[in-house]
Symmetry: C2
Subunit: 350 residues, 2 copies
Amino acid sequence: MTITHKLALIGFGTVGQGLAEILLAKGDELADRYGVRFQVVAVSDLLKGSLYDPAGLDLAALLDAARRTGKLHDYADPRPAREPQSGWDSLRTIRESNADTVVEISWTDVQTGQPAIDHVKAAFGSGKHAVLTNKGPVALAYRELDELAAAQGVLFRFEGTVMSGTPTIRLARSALAGCQISQMQGILNGTTNYILTQMEGGQSYADSLAEAQRLGYAEADPTADVEGWDAAGKAVILANVLMGGDLRVADVDRTGISGLSLADVEAARAAGERWKLIARVWQEDNVARASVRPTRLPLSHPLAGVSGAVNACTYTTDLLGDVTLIGPGAGRTETGYAVLGDLLEIVREA
Amino acid sequence: MTITHKLALIGFGTVGQGLAEILLAKGDELADRYGVRFQVVAVSDLLKGSLYDPAGLDLAALLDAARRTGKLHDYADPRPAREPQSGWDSLRTIRESNADTVVEISWTDVQTGQPAIDHVKAAFGSGKHAVLTNKGPVALAYRELDELAAAQGVLFRFEGTVMSGTPTIRLARSALAGCQISQMQGILNGTTNYILTQMEGGQSYADSLAEAQRLGYAEADPTADVEGWDAAGKAVILANVLMGGDLRVADVDRTGISGLSLADVEAARAAGERWKLIARVWQEDNVARASVRPTRLPLSHPLAGVSGAVNACTYTTDLLGDVTLIGPGAGRTETGYAVLGDLLEIVREA
């Protein structure tokens, strides 16, 4: 038996299109393996416009419109007599569509978490599950949103906020169920890890940063990455979600990599060590704490060998000691998969 | 609400005692977090004897008897008027006890998989779930046992057969749900990885093996480890369970590490590489294949940095590229946790 699970995508940029591509390519496989067919009934994007068809939109036509003109009013449904509703804004789409789950992937202000926080609240308020991939709303408002979801009897998932689709949160919550986690140490920002790897090869900080910018790993203003703000936001999520913390980004003891020189890198190498920007989360007197700082790791440490724009997390547990997960931390398909993994979990648990 | 889930332990050696210690230490925590209390109602061990109390045995008293004399007839229940049944053999315990799940951790012949295979069949035949940690039965008879469990509507779990409690199988099946895995490459034998790590430090193969034997990592007859048989058995499990294969251990293209010299290690180092005994499982023309062989990895490979008696597995997936899991591959508590993780999954899914 195959069930249908209806989705409203709020935002249709890289992540939304990555998800649509996955669902288009793997729809039959997912139905076969997991007994579920995900149907996109609505898309609402501030720039591209919006569509709603309670019986489901055509994914190929959606992707085609996004690629050709970037406007959803150019969506041409190949099936006869299908006229999707257009012009609904995000909140109306969330509240009035027949979606089971709202996938919140709109452009979001990292300082306020808006409009994503309001979107997620509206989803819960209308009895819908919510998935998101933007770390801001979870770093800012996890506890409030989690309590709201529980009160409404719906589910809230956000695997893509840390290490994109690499199942950092699912490993801790589900695959390591029964273990107590006393510490997590992570390479949670691929840009800085790329820069540090280049510096290991003898390139200066400035040249490595410029190369990261050329490759699209770093923004024109690289502050969020190189000063550790991005990693700090992810550390807050791990602390609050997996360790019962109640931290804000400002609570994180944070130092970036902009002060590291080639001489520092060389000194570490001479001592058999390697610099990594480590986000650390731990318990101190039953209170969750977090820090982000450049750290010299011995080469035998599992995080020392993590090179390039890759992410990793070492969990210190009571029953298994250290367990390390290494995987991608960004990418269109990778973050699209983050949403898919969350959706499969919602289908299983709802 | 807390449910009670009753267990029959078939075998009470290292793994069984490790599990009992965990349940004793963490019983309240597990009830609180997962809403389940595991109750050991029966223990049957060929050498130590057997006990059955349908209302539950006292874990501290069980562990005390095992430590003091190694005989379960010295079990002294601290609660008044509790007289457990004794003298039941394994099959009677499996069939006639009121356990929900049979934990099969008896001594088992690696060539025949017995008596574990018969124990698991008896569990399924009497409507009970089964957990085991010995790789033999799964490497020899996975498909038959899996079909039998499905036909009886019960669950079969064996996370401890590969990388002990490190959730190698659970990561693939559940945390990476939605991904297709096209290849797994693993360091699945801690003994040989310890020997190779020592050789990296300049110690000869013979001296490294002797040290591994002194530390208890290697058996007096080290053939199963150093010739790759242990890793091959685990590769068969990964191929058959996660890739739909139908391999036997004899089908694995297998080479051990006994032919590796310090000169080989040095030559790899000069090329910026490192030898690892890699178990590889992959699809070829839709058929699962497996090999175990010493492999030179570039230092940038996530498995190259895995040192000492540690295990690891890199999964190559369609949506995330490579994802690597690193963790312990042996140990009393670690393998005891493997059983606990499986039990929590059974409670969740049954």
